[in-house]
């Protein structure tokens, strides 16, 4: 099974508050299959996942080096638009938090902000 990797991480280093969290990570995650990342608490599993849709950008004092390719496109390239990345790559947090609106609006929120309206 040699398909092109869906997500390809190349030499990813992440520092948060001068702590080296992710140390030189390189991994290919294949398309259309389940990949599980396991490890003890605090080893950087969530940080790695957050790096896939650039949620790390919002953490203060974060430094990210390396490449994350999604479908061959480096998402850390300065010319890439963040919302475009996140539209393709969803992330469900460990503690899901509903938006302060009705259940219907919660479900519809994602499509709505991307311009899909009044389609049931």
């Amino acid at each position: 099974m040699t398909t092109t990797p869906h997500i390809s991480v190349q030499n990813l280093n992440v520092h948060i508050e001068n702590q080296h969290i992710l140390k030189d990570i390189s991994i290919n995650i294949p398309n259309k299959s389940v990949t599980s990342i396991i490890g003890p608490s605090g080893c950087g599993k969530t940080t790695l996942l957050k790096s896939f849709n650039r949620l790390l950008d919002n953490i203060p004092n974060v430094k990210i080096d390396g490449k994350v390719l999604v479908d061959g496109e480096n998402i850390y390239d300065p010319s890439v638009e963040v919302t475009h990345i996140r539209k393709k790559m969803g992330l469900l947090s460990q503690r899901p938090y509903p938006l302060p609106m009705s259940v219907y609006d919660n479900v519809a929120y994602g499509p709505r902000i991307h311009g899909i309206r009044k389609k049931k």
Partner: protein
Amino acid sequence: MIKRKLEELFFKTLMILATIVVTGSFFLIVGTIFSKGIPYMNLDMITKTPGGGFYIGKEGGVLNAIIGSLYIAGGATVLGLMISIPVAIYINMYIDGKRFTSNIIRLAFDVLFGIPSIVYGAFGFLIMVYFGIRASLLGGIIAVTLLVIPILVRTLDEVIRTVPRELRDATLSLGATRWEMAKVVLRQIRPGIFTAILLSFGRGIGDVASVLFTAGFSDNIPTSLHEPAATLPLAIFFQLGSPVEEVQGRAYASALILTIVVLIITVLSQLLIKKFSKHKI
């Protein structure tokens, strides 16, 4: 073992005493205003402007000051919100990668928070002189706005910081822009916005020093932004200074009106907070 129990008892007593002192002084203040103000309270006080001999104990009321105070506190709160909501959003959601910058801005607002209101009054007066505005409703609103902005920004800032990181991440990972995230966060903190409005309105309606030079005083209800406006605290101040007993009593009646206005605003905003807490966990 006995030492632990004594310690528990000691601090419990201390807490009860402190609570009694605070609650007691609240009832003492309200009680004094009521007992001294009720005898002079009548329909004229809230429906009429001062007549010719009002300040020597003749007919009239303080409607001019009630309306003036509501205009100034309301105008300042609305204007203040329009300035402070963007500031609070900006320092929390747009520059949170640079903690240093946002902390400098927070420090600035903390300092502004502690500046006595007479300084805002003087500063407002300078602005008015520069723009050639005379003591007027507009001047009062500007000065009180300056006064309430730090209160609003700091309150909103604290409220926004209680919003869980997960909520922001949830909107962002759906591909929302920062402004779209801010809109969701604003919905989440709606009850907090009402608390901020309440605090700023309460502060604005009760402040004397900032309106002393800027709003002036008038026996008429202001009909435009450029007319001087009376305020309840100033009305109380002028009436208390009178040697006539009748007028002094009316000062307490005015204080009673001010207290009731604040009470109404508080109850109203509590109701609104309940209403807007829908769809929240």
